[in-house]
Every structure is written in C-alpha cells, then in structure tokens.
C-alpha cells in the first residue's frame, strides 16, 4: 500500500491540476471554449421562476368525440346504416341502432384496417373502444387513444409555450416535457412571473362569430359574456374565422379614437372568408370571441376585402401587447393549469449564495483546525487532501456544467465534514498497529490495508443514499445528492492518492522516528 511509481505520481499530479484549473475557471473568463466552463447556479441561487404546467385534456377529449359524432353519422349514412340518439356524456359517446346493423357497426369499429377507428396497424390497439348492449353502443377513447391524444396535445402545447416565452424574451428559458400531460418551465433571472403566468394561463382561442337572435339555426347559438362583464350577447356557434387564419397581430395606437387596438392580418383563406362574411353581413354585429368571452362586437359597416382589420376593446397598451403576442403565437390545444410554482427573487438568491459561502468557509476552517489539533503533521496532510478535495469536487461540477443549488452547497459542506472520516479511520488504525509493531513502514502499510473494508463500506452506504435521492428528488434536492455523491468519489481519490502519497513521503523520511502519529 505504500509504494508509488513515478508514473503514478505524475498521473495524480496531472489529474489534480486539471480539476483545479477547471475549478478556478469559475472565477476567471477564458477565451478557450473548453476552459470557459462554469457551474450553473440553480434557480434558488440566481433567482428565477419554476413553473409546472398541467394540460387539461378533458375539453380536447370532449371536442374530439363531438367531432366524431359527425364523422360516424356520415360514415354509416353512406353504408345505409341508421344510427340514432347520439349522446355525449362523461367522455363517452353513445348511440343506438337496430338488430340488423349491429354486426356491421361492430365490424367497422373492430376491423384491423378500420378507417373509422385507426391505430391498429401501428399500435396493435384501436383508437376507440366500443361496447354494445341491446343495440345500444358506447364509444370511448381506448388507453392507446388517450396516450396518443395526450402526447400530441403536449407536443403542440410545448411549441406554443415556447413561442410565447420567446416572444417575451427572457434569457435562457428551460422548457421540458414531464410525463405525458405536463410541461416544466424554468425561467432564470425572472423576478416577477405574473405576466408570464397570465400569458400561459390563456388558451388564446380566437373566433369571429355573428351576434344572432336566431337560436333555431342549425349551428345553434350560445349566450356569452363580454370580457369586461358589462353585457351579454347571443352569439352564433358558426365560426366565420379563427385564430388559425391569422398571419400577424400587432398592438397599435388608433389616432382617430385615441385608443389602443390590436391590428391583424389574415392569410388568403381567412381574407376570402372575412371578405365574404363582411359583405353578406353589413349591418350585423360581428363578435370577436377570445376563450369564451366577447372582447367586442362591432357593427359591420363595410366589406373588408384587404384581409386585415383591427380589434378594439378598451385595451391598455400592455393588454393590447399581450393579446397581440397571444394571437401571434397561436392557441393552445387545451387549457394549461399551473400546478406548482416556485419563484425566488434575485436578492434572496444572492443572500443564499453569501450565506452558503460563509457557512462553507467557517465549517471548513473549524474542521481544519480540529484535525490539526488531533493529528499534528498528519492533520496537515489530511487538510491538504481536504482542500484539494474541495477544488476537485468543484472542478468536476464545472466540467459537467452541473447545477449548483443551496442544498448542493450544503452537500459540499457535509462532504467536508465527512471526508476526513476515511483518513481518520486510517490514522486510528495505524495508531493501533503501532502499539504492537515497531517498524513504522509496516505499521503504516497494515493500517492502510486493514482499514480499507471499513472505508469502502462507509462510503458505499452514503453513496446509496445519494443515488436514491438523485433519482427520486427534484430540483434543489437533486443538487444536494449530486454534490454528496460526487464528493464521495473525490474524497476517495484524495484520500487514497494524495493523502497517501504525502504520508508515504513523510514516513519514508522518518522511518526511525518513534511516536510518529
């Protein structure tokens, strides 16, 4: 255990220096790309917002089944199968048919090449489940159908969320999928998440629909409230134009009326439809509906064929800017709910960094002094290893550009406290060996050998705890497990290579000295 080859000494020195350089690269700016790595600060240290959004897929499922009603009706009409009594309740579509058609309907739904009920070829499971009882059918999404629906609405929502956040222009946002119906948004440096929260909370489903008194029309009508809550209007369910047809939207000051408006321009299809609707509907009111609320319902005075227009609705400049942003970035496929939010202000983050650093410094000094008192010269060796340990740990974190959190700093401090354990085990063992063995070299050698299993055991148990934390924990806690876990490896490296090397050098020079430790 006491022999070091020259090659090994060089190797240890190079590795140590390498990590120390990386650790120091946090303090300086290098032009070099490899060297200019920095530890990332977690949101709790640099300030920022963590938002966990959940997609509410229920309306999507309802909508899809609603659309399916038409599809099914038309599909079987062509085949001369009569289906009646369509009903949509609890995400289940039900209908009735007669005895003769029963088998046809079931076959159409369960055939492997069914057009009505796809997915079988790809997933070995249909999109829809169908049950029949006394000619009464119940159709609902299958497990696979739900999974596909969720994944696709998550993909869409992620894209829209990204566009909205990019429009606001925060620095380095982190937008990630979680499960199949959640989106995680991390916004470093964001002090006040109010605006982003309100922007993400809106579906931004824009429609242009006529105000009508005719509740008998085949499309139906619904009573909608105005955004400001002052009045209500009967609005046709027939959609003239939706947000999908928008090419652009911008806030603008309307100098004529001296109010802020949102101007928009439409794509070709939209412009055509808008022109037709405005020419047929002169004198009617056209309601502009956003997320089920009427923004305004102006009377159409002229045909608008240019494919552009403006929305007024008593906006402030801020709300007009936000509406334009929402319209530009598109509608979410489903409403999003913020189910978890954690925001730390930048000054608290700085306070946490300061407190963490002071605690680290004081803890470090206390441990160093205690060890020197306990072990004298070997205390100094232990402390050199401990200091290098800290540098190497920081170096490793830097190379991986790991995220340092406040609990992560606690993990480093704890590593400092526990790192000496291995050297203590070795030195205590050597002391025992020296009681029966007069030869320093032999005593030191067997001290190292005999303490090895205990050291290994001790570190494996801590490592197990750290690994579990890493996989089960979230955010800041992950940071703790990371520093604790890496700390174990750097500790073993410094104890077995650096401290041992220094011990060997010292002992071989003082072979004959009694009471060495």
């Amino acid at each position: 255990m006491l022999y070091f080859s020259k090659l090994r000494i060089i190797f240890i020195t190079i590795i140590s220096l390498l990590f120390i350089i990386f650790a120091l690269s946090n303090l300086f700016n290098f032009d070099n790309k490899i060297l200019n790595k920095k530890i990332n600060l977690g949101l709790d240290l640099q300030g920022g917002s963590y938002l966990l959004l959940e997609i509410d897929n229920d309306p999507v499922i309802e909508q899809k089944l609603q659309n399916l009603t038409v599809t099914i009706r038309n599909y079987f009409k062509e085949k001369n199968v009569r289906i009646t009594n369509f009903k949509l309740l609890n995400q289940t579509l039900s209908f009735t048919s007669d005895e003769n058609s029963k088998q046809t309907i079931l076959d159409e739904f369960t055939s492997e090449e069914s057009e009505l009920n796809p997915y079988y070829q790809r997933f070995k499971s249909h999109q829809l489940d169908i049950v029949e009882e006394n000619n009464f059918f119940k159709v609902s999404f299958s497990k696979q159908g739900i999974i596909n629906l969720k994944t696709s609405s998550q993909d869409q929502a992620l894209e829209i969320v990204r566009r909205r956040i990019d429009e606001i222009g925060t620095n380095e946002p982190n937008i990630l999928k979680r499960g199949n119906d959640r989106i995680l948004v991390e916004l470093p440096g964001l002090d006040d998440p109010m605006r982003i929260k309100s922007l993400l909370g809106k579906t931004a489903n824009l429609t242009f629909r006529f105000v009508t008194n005719d509740t008998e029309s085949s499309f139906g009508a619904e009573k909608l409230e105005f955004e400001d809550g002052t009045e209500e209007a009967m609005v046709s369910k027939r959609i003239i134009l939706s947000g999908e047809n928008l090419l652009d939207a911008q806030p603008r000051m309307d100098t004529e009326n001296n109010e802020t408006v949102v101007t928009f321009s439409l794509d070709r299809v939209g412009a055509k439809r808008f022109g037709k609707a405005t020419s047929n509907g002169i004198g009617k009111r056209l309601a502009i509906v956003l997320d089920g609320k009427v923004i305004s319902a102006p009377v159409i005075r002229d045909t608008i064929a240019t494919g552009s227009g403006q929305i007024s609705g008593g906006f402030t400049f801020q709300s007009a800017t936000d509406l334009a942003l929402l319209l530009r970035s598109g509608a979410l496929p489903a409403p999003l709910n913020i189910i978890e939010e954690r925001t730390v202000g930048p000054d608290l983050g700085q306070d946490s960094i300061n407190a963490g650093m002071i605690a680290l410094l004081i803890g470090f000094i206390l441990v160093i002094l205690y060890i020197i008192v306990k072990y004298k010269i070997f205390g100094i060796i232990t402390n050199i290893a401990l200091i290098l340990n800290l540098f190497i740990l920081v170096g490793v974190l830097t190379i991986f550009e790991a995220t340092l959190t406040l609990p992560g700093i606690a993990g480093i401090i704890l590593t400092v406290g526990m790192a000496v354990d291995a050297n203590v085990l070795i030195f205590e063992r050597i002391k025992e060996e020296l009681k029966s063995e007069k030869n320093n070299l032999i005593a030191f050698d067997s001290g190292y050998t005999k303490s090895r299993t205990a050291i290994l055991d001790a570190n494996i148990t801590t490592l197990l705890a750290a690994i579990i934390l890493f996989f089960m924990g979230s955010g800041p806690i992950k940071g703790f497990s990371l520093t604790l876990g890496i700390g174990i490896f750097t500790t073993l490296f410094t104890v077995y290579f650096i401290a041992r090397l220094l011990t060997v050098l010292y002992v071989s020079k003082n072979k004959e000295k009694e009471g060495l430790i």
Partner: protein
C-alpha cells in the same frame, strides 16, 4: 477502556421508550407538513418599513379571505413568512401584492413565492415516502450481502430507531417537514449505516481473533477500539452541520437541524442499539466462521 456494556440494558430501555413515544407522537400529534407535502402557498416578504410587524400583517391578510393564514418572522424583524392553504383564486398572489401595497405603501419585496397544488403535493409526499423506503430496503440488501443476518438485523434496528426518533423529535417540536427534510433523513440513513458498519467490521474481526471472549465483552472492546474514530468523525460532521445551521441561512435551518439530530442519534445507536442486538442474539465466533466456510 470505557465500560459501555454496563449500560446496555438501561439504554435499551431508554431507546425502546423513545421509539414508542415517537410512534405515539407520530400517530396522534402527527407531523407538521410544509406546503411541499400539504399543498398551499408560501410567500417570503421583506419590508423596508420597520414599523410593519407580524400582527399588522396578519390583521391585513385575514381580511382577504385566504382561509387559515399563518404569518411569522423569518430570520429577522423585517422578514416575514406567510403561509396559507390552497386557494381557488389563480391571481391570489397578485391580489395580496396589491392589497399590501395599498395598506402599507410600496414597502415590500417579494423575495420568494412557492405555490404547490394538491396533486403535486400528494405526489411529492408519495415519492418522498418511496425514496426513504427504497433507501432502507437497499441498505438492508447491502448489509445482508456484507454481513451475517444477526449483524444485518442489528444495523436495520439501529437505522429504524434513528429515523423514527428523528421524526418523533420533529413531531414533538412541531418543526416543518419539507423536501429538504427528506434529503436529511436519507443522509441520516447513510450516516447511521456508515457508523454501524465501521463498528461491526471491528466486531467481526475480533470475533475471528478471539474465541474465548463472550460477545458482551467483545462488543465493548470493539466499541472502544473504534471510539476515537467515531468521535472524531461525529465532531467534524457536526462542525460542518452547525456551521450550516448558524450561517447557512434560514432555508437550510430545518435541514441542518434534522441532520444534527440524526448524527447524534446515529452515533448513539451504533454503540447502544446495533451492538446490543448482537449481544441479545448471542453471536459467537461460530456465527462468523460458518459464514466464512460458505
């Protein structure tokens, strides 16, 4: 040599009663779950006006229909921690901001806002419980591979003792359980195991060496031989932890306190619980030699 074994019985009685009291506390008083596990909203405020105090803030917020609001000083006189249960109102934080600015002037800095919905808090609680269970289970597997079953039992009993008593103390003092406490408990599990394993290693070594010494004496010898290591490591770890507790800021207080309790219990249990299990199971040289043959 200190005669630790003289007090085996007394300390066993103490530990059993501590565990029973802790379990009773956990059952009847329960734990003070923070918003991570209970759901709700937390706001950390700093005011620039030293006249604003807890009771004026509380009076103001209680008019806002937030349900059960708790307002406390946090660290110093001008920092406050406000907590309330889950609220249907999505804009509740915005409204609180407006309300406070209206009543006290623009004197607040919202330093931290955390809001955990009921679904997320239930998931966090579940994954916390799973994490601790998996950790205990893995330790069990590890120790079972490394040692004879008598040793494994001793280590596991010590481990459960440490976790239960630490949680019992948290229940007794009404300290908040949040995500960082789960991290602390897991680290305690690792530390307690670490401490026990080092002593057990020595017990096993001594069992092989001496055939004529009874386990009652032998554990005492082993404890004494490893005592200075046990103490030095506990001291350095505690030095680091106290440094976090006093200087690491309010956020880490609960975490470091749990760890301090854990290290103290862990050190105690590896001496007085893990070893006494070996004594009570009457472990002898045969136990280790049989295993060696296999």
């Amino acid at each position: 040599m200190i005669a630790f074994n003289k007090y085996y019985n007394k300390f066993n009685i103490l530990s059993v009663s501590l565990v029973i009291v802790s379990l009773l506390l956990l059952m009847f008083k329960g734990l003070n779950f923070g918003i991570d596990f209970k759901g709700g909203t937390l706001i950390e405020l700093r005011s620039t006006d030293s006249k604003i105090n807890v009771s004026s803030l509380r009076d103001n917020l209680s008019q806002m229909n937030l349900g059960d609001v708790s307002v406390k000083n946090f660290g110093n006189e001008t920092d406050f921690l406000i907590k309330f249960e889950n609220n249907e109102n999505k804009n509740v934080i915005e409204e609180i901001k407006k309300n406070l600015d209206k009543s006290f002037g623009n004197n607040f800095n919202f330093r931290r806002v955390e809001n955990v919905g009921p679904k997320v808090s239930a998931e966090l609680l579940r994954s916390g419980v799973i994490a601790i269970s998996v950790a205990l289970f893995l330790m069990l597997v590890y120790i079972w591979i490394r040692f004879e079953w008598q040793f494994s039992l001793g280590a596991i009993v010590a481990l459960f003792h440490d976790v239960i008593v630490t949680l019992g103390l948290f229940s007794l003092l009404g300290l908040e359980i949040n995500l960082s406490i789960i991290a602390a408990v897991l680290t305690i599990v690792g530390y307690s195991m670490n401490d026990t394993v080092v002593i057990f290693d020595r017990v096993r070594e001594n069992l092989r060496k001496y055939s004529d010494i009874k386990i009652f004496e032998l554990t005492n010898i082993s404890i004494n031989e490893t005592l200075s290591r046990t103490l030095i490591t506990s001291v350095t770890t505690l030095l680091a932890l106290f440094s976090i507790f006093f200087f690491g800021g309010e956020v880490l207080k609960g975490f470091s306190l749990a760890m301090i309790f854990g290290v103290i219990f862990g050190t105690y249990s590896s001496i007085y619980i893990a070893n006494t299990v070996l004594v009570r199971l009457n472990v002898s040289q045969k136990t280790v030699l049989r295993e060696d043959k296999n």
